[in-house]
């Protein structure tokens, strides 16, 4: 029973996806019941897996009993177990809101929407656990294809944004596939552990470097690492709210996880960071530049969802930089930031979704007086915003703390990155206080109009996950010490 647990995590939403498609045609209510049920099941299983992994070490599960390196192997190390839990929890919370939004945005097509939605989630689970380089490509494409569709379900320019994403996403996936091809030619294996054991003898080879470069560029496109970010802002801001609450928190974060997986499970940190002199510094500097440029672009936006999309791009820079600083503090920060950023983005996108639900759009200008109209939504939004800025004791402060500490420890060459993080925090403060100011002050200036604005909160389906995510941000912040000690430190890849 327990030995098949990892598979159940990803099988539950996959099965539910097909049942939803059929049952949803007959009875509308089944969509909610099935999706929430399946995700709840996944969440519980994921928690059990995490507990097992922490207690007994990495689980290696051979799918269908075909032994590695020939069969597909699922490798659940503490980091993937953490990712499983993160995906499950975020998806579960997002689904409440997505159900409400989908009813409004896609009436009568919810069962189709949730079929794709659930397949996407099981694809994400698959990415987190797979130990096979080619299987990873397949999972990557499963998540991408469903995402293309989910984005294209939006109104107006959404299909165009989706098409651009198709083109960019495919280039990314193809680069990844090419990299895998090189590795296969070199080692004759697709199993990550197997490749890792064979490769060291060839580290000097330029083919290995080429493979590594292809793999990296592939995941960088998928995670929208500036300057490869072009597809993201349109795709995320034009997608239906029900889609963006799921993909915004998870897609970029899982790609960062994949980058860590490639570096640590296929190659080795020594190879990735130190074999080619200068590459490490260049990438950290690129990350710093990415943070600065994306923050600057976020300043220019007049739409909440677009602004948040650019912030996501900046946050990707945080994590890439953190990983490539290659010291314990920075790696802790990067992994903690994967968790925190997923929750912060979830919180903010849930708030945006609730605002769109009531206001019809997410333009900053239409948010006037929102503190009176939707006080609870805005309270949660404010906590999310503080976390993005990095105000203690919200979660965002602590991952930033470790990232900056890592930057300081790395030495003078990394000061650019530290400066970029600080400047980005300041820019975030400007970005969010601009919104808070608009929402706090009434239109028209003088006070007294407040009474005329009726209180009109978002519906309970959207409000409850939003408040939960906000509370989670505070709770994680206050529990940062034990969390890092018991979850993040064990999840640090071997060698750190």
């Amino acid at each position: 029973m327990t030995s098949n647990l990892p598979l159940y995590v990803l099988a539950a939403p996959l099965l539910a996806a097909f049942v939803v498609n059929l049952a949803g045609r007959v009875w509308r209510g089944s969509v909610a019941v099935l999706s929430l049920g399946a995700l709840l099941f996944s969440t519980i299983s994921a928690l059990l897996v995490l507990q097992q992994v922490l207690a007994h070490g990495t689980i290696r599960y051979t799918v269908g009993g075909w032994r590695a390196p020939w069969g597909i192997e699922l490798v659940i190390d503490p980091l993937s177990a953490l990712m499983l839990v993160l995906i499950a929890v975020v998806a579960l919370l997002a689904t409440f809101s997505a159900l409400a939004s989908a009813r409004q945005e896609l009436p009568g097509r919810e069962h189709l929407f949730f079929t794709l939605y659930l397949i996407l989630i099981s694809g994400l689970f698959g990415l987190a656990v797979t130990g096979d380089a080619f299987n990873l490509y397949v999972m990557l494409e499963i998540t991408s294809i469903t995402t293309y569709c989910l984005i294209a379900m939006g109104k107006g320019r959404a299909p165009l944004a989706s098409f651009n994403y198709v083109i960019m996403g495919t280039i990314g996936a193809c680069f990844y596939l090419l990299g895998v091809g090189y590795l296969y030619m070199l080692t004759g294996s697709l199993n990550m552990a197997d490749i890792q054991s064979i490769l060291p003898g060839m580290y000097g080879s330029i083919s290995v470097a080429t493979a590594f470069a292809f793999l990296m560029v592939g995941v960088w496109i998928k995670m929208a690492f500036l300057p490869l970010h072009g597809w993201l802002p349109n795709a995320y801001s034009l997608a239906p709210s029900s889609t963006s609450v799921l993909i915004a928190p998870l897609m970029t974060k899982i790609s960062v996880f994949l980058m860590i997986r490639i570096i640590f499970s296929i190659f080795s940190p020594d190879y990735a960071f130190f074999q080619h002199v200068g590459v490490q510094h260049l990438i950290v500097w690129a990350a710093a530049l990415a943070i600065l440029i994306a923050s600057g672009l976020a300043l220019a936006q007049t739409d909440l969802k677009r602004m948040l999309s650019y912030i996501i791009v900046a946050e990707v820079g945080y994590m890439v930089g953190g990983v490539w600083l290659a010291n314990t503090a920075a790696m802790t920060g990067a992994i903690l930031h994967i968790v925190n950023d997923a929750l912060m983005t979830l919180c903010l996108f849930l708030a945006a979704s609730a605002i769109v639900y009531r206001l019809g759009d997410s333009k900053l200008a239409s948010m006037q007086g929102l503190y009176r109209r939707m006080p609870l939504t805005m309270a949660a939004f404010t906590i999310g915003a503080f976390s993005m800025i990095g105000v203690p004791p919200t979660a965002g402060f602590f991952s930033k703390w470790y990232l900056i500490l890592g930057g300081i420890e790395a030495g003078p060459w990394a000061w650019v990155y530290v400066a970029a993080l600080l400047i980005s925090s300041l820019v975030n403060a400007i970005l969010f206080f601009r919104i808070i100011e608009i929402a706090y002050f009434q239109g028209g200036g003088e006070h007294g109009h407040g009474a005329a604005m009726p209180r009109q909160e978002a519906c309970a389906w959207q409000l409850s996950p939003l408040l939960l995510s906000a509370v989670a941000l505070l709770a994680i912040g206050l529990a940062a010490g034990p969390l890092v000690e018991h979850l993040i430190i064990p999840a640090l890849p071997a060698g750190f």
Partner: protein
């Protein structure tokens, strides 16, 4: 030392945080809401007071709330220095609460619930800063204070409030994230801890002199609430807030949190010995001397009473840093003591400015000719407050300035003594004319008939109390003096 693990400091910090929830719940019932405010104000003071005997006996309280980062817990600790500040702040909060009720009701202000709730959170943060056991905890409460005062500064919600609010956050949040946060991280990277330790935590680490200088600059710039030039611009702008906010937050809590943070850093993080050996203390004193003189000169030119008080505050705050920077026993005593002396004096002055506004709707000094004859109590208190700030006996301000002057002599720095004397003269030059005008100048004919009377009792009472306290502190400074001596004792 007898350190007791106890929930008392948590209760002292938390009571107003919990109280804020009750204030929000009592939204539609003003009497209940204001009773809650008073209740938690008195409760907080009593909680702080209950810890005083132990602290005076050389003991302390400590409580760890959570482990945030390895070696840096979220921890509250009551020591002499924190006690000193908490005592001043929590006592003055009672006065401010009473005054707020009088002021807000007299002016029939809007959104009073939000006002009282934000105020309660702000005082929690202030006491939190006082009782922080390490720099990270302090930073946490420091930011909490910045954010909770934003709704208070922008209370008017008009265009001017909007601009001021923006300026306020830009200075306060910008400097704390941009300067204080990296400084804190550098300290952590070097020392591996952020605990406030008497004598500093950097002395034994063999840190490079350049780094210490950099840290001092970052911290002084980072805690911009202390209003040291060039990071003072937010304070005059914040005067757009209702007067009780200006008086308590921008006369006492917020600004002194800034000073307190810098003093903590000088005493317990960088360490006086380290600074002395690198001559950085003296550099700091000369730097803040500029602020002392410039702020006093600018204050002379202000016609808006609250703005004049704001610039006066900026100047006086730098006295405290000046004293600490001298790194001599008397100088440090004077610097810390000035926190209390200035608090009582300045809050009286602000209360008076508010009372004048409530009674006559006058904001400008040029309109106040002859007003003292109609409002004798208010202007009497104003005169006492002003004398305390100038440093005349028999008022509290004299004592701290005396210590500062002695400190300057001990450090053999005649220029600093000159700065202190010049500034006192300037203080007199911008305060005494107001008193003179109010009592002795002929009132414009029109106002005599309008029948301006004293402000409501709830406004008058607190300002009388704080004025009398200023007076009393000259004769009975012992408790505060003892606490300060304990705080600076190595």
């Amino acid at each position: 030392m007898n350190i007791i693990t106890s929930l008392l400091p948590v209760a002292a910090v938390g009571i107003s945080l919990i109280g804020a929830i009750f204030i929000i719940l009592a939204n539609r019932r003003p009497n209940l809401r204001e009773s809650v405010t008073l209740l938690i104000a008195v409760g907080k003071f009593l909680l702080v007071l209950s810890m005083l005997p132990t602290v005076l006996a050389g003991g302390g309280f400590v409580f760890t709330l959570a482990e945030l980062i390895p070696g840096v817990p979220f921890q509250l600790r009551v020591d002499a220095m924190g006690m000193f500040f908490a005592l001043v702040a929590s006592f003055l909060w009672i006065c401010t609460s009473i005054y707020s009720i009088g002021y807000m009701r007299a002016l029939q202000e809007h959104d009073q619930t939000r006002y009282y709730a934000s105020f309660a959170v702000a005082i929690s943060a202030t006491i939190g800063v006082a009782f922080s056991a390490n720099l990270l905890t302090l930073y946490l409460f420091y930011e909490m204070l910045s954010l909770s005062t934003y709704p208070l500064v922008t209370h008017e919600r008009n265009a001017e409030a909007r601009v001021s609010g923006r300026k306020y956050l830009t200075y306060i949040l910008g400097t704390s994230i941009g300067f204080a946060l990296p400084a804190m991280l550098i300290v952590y990277a070097i020392a591996g801890t952020l605990d406030f330790t008497s004598g500093g935590i950097l002395s034994d680490t063999g840190v490079a002199p350049g780094t210490v200088a950099l840290l001092l600059i970052l911290f002084v710039a980072g805690f911009a609430k202390a209003g040291i030039m060039p990071f003072h611009g937010w304070l005059p702008a914040a005067m757009v807030a209702p007067t009780p906010v200006s008086s308590f937050l921008h006369g006492v809590a917020v600004v002194k949190v800034g000073v307190f943070s810098i003093l903590r850093v000088i005493f317990d993080i960088l360490g006086p010995d380290l600074l002395r050996s690198l001559d950085l203390g003296m550099a700091l004193t000369y730097f803040v001397s500029i602020t002392i003189l410039a702020a006093s000169l600018i204050a002379l030119t202000q016609d808006n009473l609250k703005r004049r008080l704001a610039y006066s505050t900026i100047g006086q705050l730098s006295y405290m840093i000046l004293g600490a920077g001298m790194l001599t026993a008397s100088g440090m005593t004077g610097g810390v003591l000035h926190i209390a002396m200035h608090a009582f004096g300045k809050i009286t002055l602000f209360f008076c400015a508010g009372a004048i506004y409530v009674a006559s709707h006058k904001k400008y000094i040029s309109e106040m000719d002859g007003l003292g004859r109609q409002m004798p109590i208010t202007f009497g208190a104003f005169a006492l407050g002003a004398m305390s700030i100038i440093g005349l006996p028999p008022l509290g301000g004299f004592i701290s300035k005396w210590y500062l002057a002695v400190g300057a002599l001990q450090a053999d720095q005649m220029p600093l003594l000159l700065v202190l004397l010049t500034s006192s003269l300037l203080n007199a030059a911008y305060f005494l004319p107001i008193v003179y005008r109010a009592f002795f100048a002929a009132a414009p004919a029109a106002t005599t008939e309008t029948g301006i009377r004293e402000a409501p009792l709830l406004c008058l009472l607190p300002l009388s109390v704080t004025a009398i306290c200023s007076l009393a502190l000259f004769f009975y400074p012992n408790v505060f003096l003892r606490l300060v001596e304990m705080a600076i004792a190595p």
